[in-house]
Subunit: 296 residues, 4 copies
């Protein structure tokens, strides 16, 4: 299949490589061209604009950092929509807001192209190993085309619904749940430590029992050791998702007190010196600091 | 081994039966004697007081509903301490507060008996199937006696530390984490539903991906369906544990904002009509109601 | 003085009328022209565009509902900036966001006009009686012109600083404080009522003692009586201010947990049926409802 | 009138002195006797037990630090109840919990003595100047005796209701409101300071406008200057009242999210080093610290 791929960060590069290795004819684009070279080395061709990556493709995938980046590569003279043929498909894998997704859905409908949101849970190593959990939403006719390709990229593809934005909402909910887990483990480790229990032992005990979701283990271990760097999931990126979640919830008139609380923790973590080099786990700095436990 | 067992609720009865079936000589006590009959039927003897259950036993187990019940069966003329021989062991499996546990530890030390806290994660069916996760804390010499028996009652026995109260704190932390999961799923289902996503589908998608801890599945499904009865883990019992968690954290000078928030949810759930017949999942009534979603 | 006045809602009309009655030559503009007629009747002239209101004026005042409205009357061919002479002054009295105020400051600087934010505390009756509390910020040279006129419009004019946006921030802080007072009185009335104390009596006792700020009296009485209509300060308008406060605080990296909490209350109040016809006091519906106290 | 007075802290001493100066025959008791000497100097007699202070008195007043202290001076062989004549009155001015007040009410009824709660708002200087706001609750027949005396001690005496505990609840509500004001001003000063506004100027502007309740001025000024010592209203004393408020609200099934939030702030302030020498204003350390603003 002729495939375009826009956005070669750690996640995008791993997915694009898998598409090449599956035998697809892949043309890639990345804003900073150096990141395209490893893909060229494995057999992809390299476009100089998103439009060029989209031209002639049956599907163009995008995996970029935020709403602004996706908007930038989609619209305008050099954008995907100016290259994508009628009837072809844009599969958006980025974590973006509900309103942006709805606007993109409308813009593609207007240009007689298809738009599918196919969000992913998993980190770059899971992407490389085709172990992502993928959740897709879009019109049936578009899913029919996208899903078989998506199934080669992860361990499962769940269908959320007919509106692309619904998949984006699920992704935001998932990241909201992650942030709550981090806060929970921060509070749990704080009270354990002051109660005389080694927090690493606490995490080990609980995650060997029924709190066995990976996030409890991964973030629990980092928090217990007060290891907040390097950034696996960068703090400001997750803060952005918190912002998108709150915006979507406000539009839907749904109070999310836990998300509001986490919003404040993101700001307080920043005041405590956590920045782009810090992992989401650094959110727990607040709970630890409030208990007088932060080790310098 | 000669074993006493006090407290034959759903959990206690299942554990006591396993002890009988393992070949121990078990003498049981329960405040309302009718619940002792099924144990007599499988071979246990029945005591008329906790002291009598403890007399002659190498270990007396207790599995009762709260601090007051444990205090009542331990102290006084008819209490465990008046029957338990010097050098014998009291293994407390109840979910109780840190301060009560510390007081019991001291009282047993004063009477030259041993006290071990061995708390459990799992429900009655897990207890019956010897699938509990057990976490124990106490002096080494007491753990040496208790752990081999505990290992026959669950799938794992984790050692928390040398102070019995530490195991109780871990249990309270675990139940705190459960309550946060329920609140999280309440908010998640609320925003999903108003975003056009069937909440049951949301739960299915997320728990088939990386949010795969059993509590997400169990409570998520109940919340998605607004099924808050019957009570698996009764709302007031879990509220009691929230109270014990906040009390322990206050003594340790650890703010637990998530626990404080959940404290308010328990009270609001009560105002919305949830009571002893409601499951912990009914905590989510608040998030759903605040979004205008509660179905009558 | 030749004065333009844009925005003739309840507040704007009262202020504009005072300017006319002070002997200034006032030309007014309002989007819906009917509201200009009462001003014409007392001696103002009526412009058909904001630009026309600004043309020839030494000062043009604006008092509109939100950032979008102020932006709309300021920019564009018909906007204030296209009519305002070099060296003349725009005194903005609206409650707007910090970022919008900063953008307006820059735009006026670029066109060699002056921009002053002069926000007000007080309701329309206070405006009519020249009893407003006014707080102004801007460059000294601009304040020198604006303050003498402002002093005729209220009981005091406080100078906040040299950046117009600082006055806007003070207004947002004030409205944030109001919203916290409403929530506080909601919780206070709820616990009093369930404790057997008539909430109106509670409010009377506390506000006759040291809790004597007007907001405690006004909102306290409304909440005690569960009287949430008509809207003095409309719920969605105050929700807008909460949004602006949170946005400003996020930019400044300041967590405002009380504002975040109130944000959720606004959403929950909406889910309980409160809308534009409801007063800010309706925020207390949440505290009352969470205690099972809302009377239908 | 023959009056007993138990508890000669700063408040109690000022009130007792006023009673002496009004011509009453006053017999005082204080746990540490040195504090009784200044009262002896102005004409009071000094008792060696609370019972002795109560013996022969028509009214015995108590003004002690907490529930435990009041319980200690009331019950037992040396306690007020063992000295107080049938038909005589105990007027309790301490800030105590609802449950303790209810228990005391019952105990006095059982001994055919009267019990009135007469709580006060105001500090020691207000007590000395007979400027307290007093709020009393109790049976009509007891209020008839107590109120005329109380009226000489403050600027007003408000009647709350027939149950003494209702006055205690009003006092707890008032202190809850104070704590929210402190948190509010902490957040307000934090966002102002990072927005370039001198927080002292902010407080001055707002309290000269409609936020003119004394607590805004007093606590606002302290917070703006980060002046948290010496303790006017000691942090742990106010934390005790927060605890009593939450306990009363839990019994009444009323969620008080602001009080819960403040509860966490008390604990975090402690972790930041605030203790008995710190004023309630130190609660704002948390908001300032979360914004990165605490000056060492």
């Amino acid at each position: 299949m002729k495939i375009g791929f826009v956005g070669l960060g750690a996640m995008g590069a791993a997915i694009a490589k898998n598409l090449v290795e599956s035998g697809h004819e892949v043309r890639v684009f990345n804003r900073s061209p150096a990141r395209a070279e490893p893909l060229r080395a494995v057999g992809a061709s390299v476009a100089t604009t998103p439009a060029e990556a989209a031209r002639g493709a049956e599907i163009v995938f995008t995996m970029v950092s935020d709403d602004a980046a996706l908007t930038a590569v989609t619209y305008g003279d050099d954008g995907i929509l100016s290259g994508l043929a009628k009837g072809a498909l844009h599969v958006s894998m980025s974590t973006i807001g509900v309103a942006t997704s709805e606007a993109l859905t409308a813009a593609h409908r207007d240009t007689h192209t298809g738009f599918v949101s196919a969000i992913v849970f998993g980190r770059p190593d899971a992407a490389a190993a085709r172990k992502l959990f993928i959740m897709a939403a879009g019109a049936d006719e578009h899913l029919k085309v996208a899903v078989p390709v998506l199934e080669t990229l992860g361990q499962s593809v769940g269908i959320v619904g007919a509106e692309p934005a619904q998949a984006n909402l699920v992704k935001l909910i998932g990241n909201f749940m992650l942030s709550v887990i981090v806060e929970t483990m921060g509070e749990a480790c704080a009270v354990a430590e002051k109660g005389g229990i080694d927090p690493s032992r606490l995490v080990e005990l609980l995650t060997n029992a029924s709190f066995n979701a990976p996030a409890y283990k991964i973030y629990g271990a980092m928090i217990a050791q007060q290891r907040f760097q390097p950034a696996g999931f960068s703090l400001p990126l997750c803060q952005k998702d918190n912002r998108l979640m709150l915006a979507a919830a406000e539009t839907l008139a749904v109070p999310l007190p836990l998300a509001s609380f986490v919003h404040d923790r993101f700001l307080a973590a920043r005041a405590r010196g956590a920045g782009p080099d810090h992992d989401l786990s650094a959110l727990a700095l607040c709970a630890l600091s409030d208990a007088g436990l932060v080790r310098e």
